[in-house]
């Protein structure tokens, strides 16, 4: 499994969109880190630099009525679902008009009108929740599906085990991704489990398991495509481990002292964005001008988003009291 899709298969248009979203993800986070260092943000920043191919190569394949539960490093997937860079900035700046209205910060966000679920900080809690969403879709005979993303660290939690098992027993239309960036905070995968890879751990649930190069958007695309078709066809859940590299510390406060330089070098060599560009160029599917134009557009979008985010109004204290309960 996990064999790479050919550039032809995927097609120029989708490839360009993937390149755009990966670049937008990267550019947005490069910029928000600067904003953070300028002391303009109340909370921390968590980025998915170097991991963009995972969310983008999978979420790009969804239809309007499908659902995702991204992890805290899958910003590209938020963008693909239609969350705007401006909305993300309003979120980071804790503004009233952000998706969480200032009630939660950074990538602790979602937008149900865009079928983007939320997560709680407690790692892996979304695994059974996503199964519940998939259950509702199945129950109602919609042939929509759910993509749920978690890190390698999350797979050590009981909720991950219980959720995967339930999805498998009930044959639910959900695809679970492990964004294996090889670290949980400072803890490398080999201290989190006694097996070689997360996929081994996932092999005991009765669903197809795949491991792919998470820095190769075409590999992610191919594996996700098979799993999505399977889910849509009613054949049940799948698990896909995307091996990637966390190219920063855990959060904006973490200098990643504990990560060997070697690791970052590997990650840089495998950077998913240049790799996609190279593939496109090899097939004459993109010109330098097109890329320059894309970059220029993204720069403007990100700048605009940061400005709107910073200008957005903060909520007023007493607004905190509303909405604990639904009508």
């Amino acid at each position: 499994m996990g064999d790479v899709s050919t550039v032809e298969e995927v097609g120029r248009d989708t490839l360009h969109r993937m390149l755009y979203y990966m670049k937008l993800h990267r550019a947005y986070e490069d910029r928000i880190e600067v904003v953070y260092r300028q002391g303009k943000l109340a909370g921390p920043v968590f980025v998915g630099r170097g991991q963009e191919a995972v969310g983008v190569g999978s979420a790009i394949q969804l239809g309007k009525d499908d659902f995702i539960f991204p992890s805290h490093r899958d910003l590209g997937a938020f963008f693909i679902r239609g969350m705007t860079p401006e909305a993300v900035s309003l979120q980071y700046f804790g503004r009233r008009d952000g998706p969480m209205r200032g009630r939660d910060g950074n990538t602790h966000m979602g937008d149900w009108s865009l079928n983007i679920g939320i997560f709680v900080s407690q790692m892996a809690d979304t695994v059974p929740v996503a199964a519940g969403v998939a259950f509702a879709l199945k129950q109602r005979g919609q042939n929509n599906i759910v993509l749920c993303y978690n890190g390698d660290g999350a797979t050590s939690r009981g909720d991950w085990h219980e959720g995967l098992n339930l999805a498998a027993i009930m044959q639910l239309p959900v695809v679970y991704f492990c964004v294996n960036n090889q670290y949980a905070y400072s803890t490398p995968v080999d201290k989190q489990m006694a097996v070689e890879c997360v996929a081994e751990r996932a092999s005991g649930y009765g669903m197809p398991v795949d491991t792919v190069d998470g820095n190769d958007v075409l590999a992610v695309y191919a594996s996700a495509k098979a799993a999505i078709e399977r889910a849509r066809s009613g054949a049940g859940p799948s698990f896909i481990e995307c091996v990637t590299y966390r190219m920063t510390g855990h959060g904006s406060h973490d200098d990643a002292r504990y990560v060997p330089e070697q690791f970052f070098e590997e990650g840089r060599e495998r950077d998913p964005i240049p790799r996609l560009i190279a593939a496109l160029q090899a097939h004459d599917m993109v010109t330098a001008a097109e890329i320059a134009h894309m970059d220029a557009r993204i720069t403007l979008e990100v700048e605009d988003a940061m400005q709107k985010g910073e200008e957005g109004a903060l909520p007023e204290g007493p607004e905190a009291l509303t909405g604990v309960y639904a009508e």
Binding site: W112, G132, L137, Q139, D159, L166
Partner: protein
């Protein structure tokens, strides 16, 4: 005459017939009809898609229910014993309770919690866990004491757009009976019921302890017309108006619950009263509760543990004489 347990079944069955979004999940509720037989026959009537036997995975099936509820379905989760909610504590208090506040999406899920002791179930089958959840904004908590309320509060809980913890007391399952014409009615969440009127002492209680309190009145000379027993029915949001109005009339308060004392719900009630009705108090606020120990198994130990008629009567007499 139907039992408290049958009233719960009736409410579930009627709501499932009324609304195809209502479904049940939990351990052994299908084939077996539930550890207490609340869902006996449901699998046959509603099928395996709506009466779901789960593996032993409280966190997992609670999370699943939350996800389905976010989609507008109305799951009713049965925990085989309320004690096992401890395994789903994170999903209940963090995902179910906080999602509407953060995300604006309703989570209409009901958590059915078979609660309480009195049958020598020991430390892990007899718990009254309400105090673990009253502190979590976003949850509603109801605790029916009568057949009528068992049905009406469960229907209200299922129709509510928030996560509702439904505390059904195991000791009442087959002990309390009443006539219920098959009517479709709800008991609104948030309204206490005055079970006896009185002007000298307010007794605040809920669940199985209501019956202990009512029995206690028998042995209190002159209780008639003196002791006002209020069945809270809902713990969150608690009916402050009814509670405070009664205290302002009587000036004396006894709070009775089966849960252990320290950190129990009686504390919250005492705090509300000692703040908002202080000027009306003519005596100390007393609590009759279980002691601060796990629920012991052996009959003499559990009998000692559970607040009884004598404990309530003694405390009430004291306060009346105060």
């Amino acid at each position: 005459m139907i039992t408290y347990l049958e009233a719960i079944s009736q409410a579930l069955r009627e709501e499932m017939r009324r609304d195809s979004d209502v479904f049940l999940l939990g351990e052994d509720i299908g084939n077996f009809g539930g550890a207490f037989k609340v869902t006996e026959g449901f699998l046959e009537e509603f099928g395996a898609e709506r009466v779901i036997d789960t593996p032993i995975a409280e966190a997992g099936f609670t999370g699943m229910a939350v996800g389905a509820a976010m989609m507008g379905m109305r799951p009713v989760v049965e925990y085989q014993f309320s004690d096992f909610m401890s395994c789903a504590f994170d999903q209940i208090t963090n995902f179910a309770a906080k999602t509407h506040y953060r995300f604006g999406v309703p989570v209409p899920v009901v958590f059915r919690a078979p609660t309480g002791g009195g049958f020598n179930g020991g430390p892990f089958h007899s718990g009254c866990l309400e105090s673990y959840f009253v502190h979590t904004a976003g949850l509603k908590i109801v605790a029916p004491a009568t057949v009528y309320d068992a049905k009406g509060l469960l229907k209200a809980a299922i129709r509510d757009n928030n996560p509702v913890l439904y505390l059904e007391h195991k000791h009442l399952y087959r002990r309390v009976k009443a006539e219920l014409n098959g009517d479709d009615y709800v008991v609104p969440i948030g309204e206490a019921a005055v079970r006896t009127e009185g002007d000298r002492l307010t007794v605040l209680t809920y669940g199985a302890m209501l019956h202990v309190c009512l029995d206690a009145l028998e042995s209190i000379p002159g209780a008639d017309g003196a002791v006002e027993v209020i069945d809270l029915r809902t713990l969150v949001p608690v009916d402050r108006e009814t509670v405070l109005a009664s205290v302002k009339k009587t000036g004396k308060v006894l709070i009775v619950h089966e849960a252990a004392k320290t950190g129990g719900f009686a504390g919250e009630l005492a705090a509300i009263i000692a703040d908002e009705a202080f000027e009306f108090l003519d005596g100390p606020i007393r609590r009759v509760t279980a002691p601060d120990i796990p629920v012991p198994f052996s009959p003499p130990l559990e009998d000692f543990y559970l607040p009884g008629v004598d404990d309530v009567a003694a405390a009430a007499r004291q306060l009346l004489e105060f």
